[in-house]
């Protein structure tokens, strides 16, 4: 028995060590990749391609340092980030809640979905850039028009997945729950929503990116602060380093959001087989 416990401890330790080795390799490869790309970009921009269009990493870095130390033409960089982030977060929250709720309701009601489907699909086909300027007209220049743009982008991304997720629910599970005494809402809450979770999470992964895009596009249509405006300014003054620097800030924000989402995902999908469909053999 003692021997066995020992064995088990070793097994756990081995598993841990393997995990560490894996994540080390992964990170090493990532860093290598980034370094290779940046290096060849710098080199190319110095010798072959025209930094007027493509800028170069060192210039972008300087611009970033400049923004964070002395500020931008529109004021502190943090103000711009906060502003855009606020728009994106509100739009994301509203859009994902709206998308999930409507998606699940329509996904579970054949009649509603038959009636509404063409309208929703039609609405989805309206170019957001036009919507963004309509929103400025409808909601004014304040934060609400950007939130609306972010909302609409997030909403559709989430909606279609929640809808499909709700339709894909295993009939057996629904039947079982009904037999066990679940009311309609209980079925939604305990069967449909958990089943659709991986669908919804998959859409949320891209949705925060969309929320930021919405905020930036909204700022393009009219604004007095924000990262979108900053990039727009850079475009207006032929400052390609500024364009890329702005994009990098946006990207970093999106990655942070992504990281939070991954934590949430791990929490919500704890019940999964650890390597579901994700083994190295195939």
């Amino acid at each position: 028995m003692l021997l066995e416990l020992d064995d088990q401890a070793t097994a756990v330790a081995q598993a841990r060590a393997a995990g560490r080795r894996r994540s080390f390799t992964v990170n090493a490869v990532r860093i290598l990749l980034v370094a290779a790309v940046l290096g060849s970009w710098e080199l190319a921009a110095t010798y072959w391609i025209d930094p007027f269009y493509y800028s170069k990493p060192s210039a972008i870095w300087n611009r970033l340092v400049d923004w964070f130390t002395t500020g931008t033409s529109q004021g502190s960089i943090w103000t711009q980030i906060t502003y855009t982030l606020e728009e994106a977060v509100i739009g994301f929250a509203l859009g994902s809640v709206g998308g999930v709720v409507l998606g699940i309701i329509l996904g579970r009601s054949r009649f509603l979905s038959d009636v509404c489907a063409p309208f929703i699909k039609a609405a989805n086909a309206i170019p957001r850039i036009i919507l963004a300027s309509l929103f400025v007209i409808w909601f004014g220049l304040g934060m609400s028009s950007k939130v609306a743009t972010a909302f609409i982008l997030v909403f559709f991304a989430v909606f279609f997945n929640a809808f499909q997720g709700a339709r894909e629910v295993d009939r057996n599970l629904v039947n079982n729950a009904r037999i066990l005494g679940a009311s309609r809402t209980a079925v939604l809450r305990t069967i449909v929503v958990p089943s659709a979770t991986s669908w919804i999470l998959a859409s949320l992964h891209s949705a925060f990116g969309f929320a930021i895009i919405g905020a930036v596009v909204g700022e393009y249509s009219g604004a007095d602060k924000g990262l979108g405006l900053l990039i727009n300014h850079a475009q207006g003054t032929f400052d390609s380093a500024g364009i890329y620097a702005g994009m990098i800030i946006i990207t970093v924000i999106a990655l942070l959001a992504e990281w939070l989402l991954t934590l949430l995902e791990r929490r919500l999908l704890r019940w999964r087989p650890p390597t579901a469909g994700h083994d190295a053999q195939i």
Binding site: N172, N176, G181
Partner: protein, 281 residues
């Protein structure tokens, strides 16, 4: 036990019930045809029949999950429309919630019926123990073996103490002895001999492929015809309860009824076998 509308009337009644499905070729596949079946409250009916004849479909008619295409299904004297009160149905296929632990899976029913979380978990813990899964309370279904998942489903169904209990091959994945223990547990609940349950009197429809099991458990054994299913014959089991499976197997009454049921069933199985494509409309 939930209160019953007419304690003396039949708990389950199928009147001339027919169920058709659209088949893959766009035609119609009749799974159950003109089936009449009556189960009294407190009666334990075992159902046997050739594979694919329509047993599961029959249960789904009683449970209200599928409406009959023609004829009527009544539970406690009322036409089935939605899930009738007090029905418990253990499916042939796995239907435990993969995102809930064993304990929470078993607590699902009570929670749906409004029992407080704490109380539901208590009830669940007791049932997990009864089906022999103590120690696995916090496991997720994918971490269990096939037989363990079946037992979770069993506990999930029984914890609700249904007055109509439909079971579709509940014990087929269990080893002989575990199966025996589960059978005892089921009978205890059913006979009202249960230290925890409020009393017996449930009407049970128990689908099985094991004739011995059918005879040991049932008040009556119903044999279904080859597809489309209808009731071919119904045999009353003349054995006194409580029955001890080991002992009973060797009594002449047992052998007699076993032979009768077997003869009846064999014909149907043969038909199914021979007809082959014949029934595929």
């Amino acid at each position: 036990m939930p209160t019953q509308a007419e304690p003396d009337g039949p708990a389950i009644e199928l009147r001339d019930a027919t169920k058709r499905f659209r088949s893959s070729s766009g035609g119609v596949h009749t799974a159950v045809r003109n089936l009449d079946l009556t189960v009294r409250a407190g009666e334990f009916v075992a159902v046997v029949g050739p594979t694919g004849c329509g047993k599961s479909t029959t249960l789904s008619l009683v449970s209200g999950l599928e409406p009959p295409s023609a004829g009527e299904a009544l539970v406690h004297g009322r036409p089935v429309n939605g899930i009738p009160d007090g029905v418990g149905y253990m499916f042939q296929t796995d239907a435990v919630l993969p995102w809930r632990t064993v304990l929470d899976n078993v607590a699902t029913g009570p929670r749906y019926r409004g029992v407080s979380k704490k109380h539901a978990r208590e009830q669940a813990r007791d049932w997990v123990r009864r089906v022999g899964l103590d120690g696995f309370e916090s496991y997720y279904p994918h971490q269990l073996s096939g037989g363990m998942r079946k037992r979770v489903a069993l506990a999930q169904t029984l914890v609700n103490e249904p007055s109509i209990l439909l079971m579709d091959e509940p014990f087929s994945a269990l080893d002989v002895q575990t199966r025996g223990l589960m059978q005892d547990e089921l009978l205890r609940l059913w006979s009202g001999d249960d230290p925890l349950g409020q009393g017996g009197g449930a009407a049970v429809v128990f689908v099985t492929h094991d004739l011995e099991e059918a005879i040991v458990l049932g008040d009556r054994v119903v044999v279904m015809t080859a597809s489309p299913a209808t009731v071919k014959a119904s045999f009353t089991v003349p054995l006194k309860r409580p029955r001890d499976a080991e002992e009973i197997r060797l009594t002449p009454e047992f052998l007699e009824i076993y032979r009768e049921v077997w003869e009846s069933l064999r014909e149907e199985v043969q038909i199914t076998r021979e007809r082959g494509a014949g029934n595929a409309a």
